[in-house]
């Protein structure tokens, strides 16, 4: 049965995969992709909570899911992620043109 917990587990798994990728990959493009996976894991959580609680009230009778807050946030994150991906890719390409590598271990121009 597909319920809220399934979405959350999927989200957690995706986040963990993304985190692992972001921390372990040496390739800057792969790190960027991993970060995208983590962002999308968060998006899934947002949308899952939003749809699960729509039309529900808490114990004090205040409506908690009456608005499309989660969905709007998800769209917002997608937008930011797109912008971020564009900027990051531009930087990576710039770096690649300069030092012919996208290995983060070698990108140490600003390291003291």
């Amino acid at each position: 049965m597909v319920n809220l917990n399934s979405f959350l587990i999927l989200s957690a798994v995706m986040f963990a995969i993304g985190l692992f990728g972001a921390l372990s990959k040496r390739n800057a493009v792969a790190i960027l992709m991993s970060i995208e996976i983590m962002l999308n894991a968060v998006n899934i959580t947002m949308v899952a909570f939003a749809s699960a609680f729509i039309g529900k009230s808490d114990a004090a009778g205040v409506a908690v899911g009456s608005r499309l807050t989660g969905q709007i946030f998800a769209i917002f994150i997608i937008t930011v992620a797109a912008a971020e991906a564009a900027v990051a890719l531009a930087i990576i390409i710039g770096i690649y043109r300069r030092i012919s590598t996208v290995d983060v271990g070698h990108i140490n121009l600003m390291k003291w």
Binding site: L19, A22, L23, I31, V104, G105, N108, K111, W112
Partner: protein, 718 residues
Amino acid sequence: MDIFSNPVQYAWIVAALPLAALVINFFGFRMLDVLTRPKEVVAQADPHAAHGEATDAHGGEQNPATIDAHDEQAHGGHDDEHGAATGFWASVVGWIAFGAMLLAFIYACLIGAQFLGNTELQSKGVTLHIYDWFNFGKLAYTIDFHVDALTVVMLVVVTAVSMLVHLYSMGYMAGDRGYSRFFIELSLFTFSMLLLVLGANFLVLFIGWELVGLSSYLLIGFFFNQAKPPEGSEVPWPPPAQLKAFVTTRLGDFGFLIGILLLWVTTGTFNFTDLNFNTKTSATGLTVVLATTAMILVFCGAVGKSAQFPLHVWLPDAMAGPTPVSALIHAATMVAAGVYLVARLFPLYATVAGPESLQVVGYVGAFTAIFAATIALTQTDIKGVLAYSTISQLGYMFAGLAVAENNTVGIFHLFTHAFFKALLFLGAGSVIHALHDNGIGAQNLRNMGGLARWLPITAFTMLMANLAISGIPPFSGFFSKDLILATAYERGYMPIYYILLFTAFLTAFYMFRLFFLAFGGRGGAIGGLWGGEYRGIGQPHESPWVMTLPLILLAIPTVVAGFLSVNNDFANFLTGGEITTPYVSPFTETLTWVSVGVAAVGILLAWAMYGLEILPAKAFTGNPIGAPIYRLLKNRYYIDELYGLIIKYVVLGLSQGFYLFDKYIIDGIVNGIGRFVRGLGFVTRRSESGFVQNYGAVLFGGALLLMIAVFFAVGVFR
């Protein structure tokens, strides 16, 4: 005017006069002298001829080896080049210094005149408040002068001797390049001693005490650029000699300072009057044991300053300075300070502290007396003999202080000794002055003999002083020495009495040995007393009037000063007429004739050995018993060598130990901490990789751990 009608109230003038001369000369005429005097001429052509005289002008045994050893390094500036005339401004400096001392002497005599017959003044004295030094809380530190009979005696002695030494120095130092510097340092020396004597509390006294040490340092090393004498020379070299004097006296000062502080901590006062007369009655924490300890510690300072065993080693070397300075040091200014200190604190020693304190003083004094006298028997340096005789006589003074019930006995010997010892040293200076132009070791008795023919005034005055120090009536030394011996006998200090009696014999012997060796000899008139065979080279000459006049002036008190003790006059003056015991003339006592007889035997023995020369010295030093004793005495009991060994092995060994402790323990701890931190950094620096991914891993790892902790806390896993 009040200054003349009531001079006691202006006693500071006595100290201010040499200080004024010092300031005027130092900032005024010394500058003019330095600017106007001709440049020093360094003879390049023949160093032997040019420096044969200059090198050892005041110092050394001159022999060809000396000259050879010298000629290279002797080229530095020689301050003591003779022959040149004294510059105009230099003589101005000399006359100002002398004039100030003459005025100071006259003023001291005025104060003395006011004290005469005024028993109130004699017993109480006057305290003059000069200056508030600083105050905090209950503590008030003041520069106060205290003038009582003891101070007056010291003022008169110091100014009189210093004044005559100033006059004498004008002849002795004539033409010396350091002429003006010499007189400035003499002024400083005299000022320091007057400050010491005038001080009403330990602070002022200690300032004077240290200033005396400084100025003696300066004056002993007056010829600081003199070339090093060759190995084995008996003549001390000024630079180490001045340091030795300074450091040795400083050793005693260490105890002195602890003693002062001990007294201050328990009584809360530095003031002599309070310490002497109020410590018993007031509720201070000064117990007998503490007082005894403090007084023995204070005596340590006196031991250093007055050259008592075991800190006597500096005084014989102090003759490296010009001879007038030796006269000043030995008679009035430096070594008298220790005796004065004990005399000043005499009530503390006698009434507050236990009897042990004065016993220490007495036995150290008596031992030093005989110890130094035995060394003096064998010395061949004319100033060396006199130096050891000074140490011996100072021992007499301390013994005299210790055995009597007041300080008058010791101070009386200080008083008479100041005159005849100054006379002896100035006479020795006159001899050196007479001989040193001849290019021989001018201080060595072996190069003298028969000098009375050429130096009649010097010889006659020296004879007076010799009779005085030997204790022959009616010369001054007889009265003071007999007083010490009689007091020791009467008050039951038999060991001290016998030691001092034997020392009296030795004293008479070595002083007349000196006299016969220098002025008499075989073939002279009166059985070798006057004139005789001259063993030196060239023609000695009598000194100019500025040098013989002080000798004559000093000969007067040397002969007559002893009569001041008749009817207890001197003791009554010091104590304000408290002496109640009836006066016994020394001439009526059998005991007196014992000590006079002992001295006469000493003189006759010296006469037989060195005047008539019927009893060769080899008779004593040639046999197997006498030879090692002679060697021991000749080498001054090897005390200097012993101290050398102590310094080399104990002091340097200890410092080596401390160095190693510092290097390996102290530095080890400090470096160990550094090394530990370095090692820690070496291990932990791996965490700072510079890779953002690592930081991120740690960040999220931390977050994970936090999450698990929260889960545990809320009971998820339960």
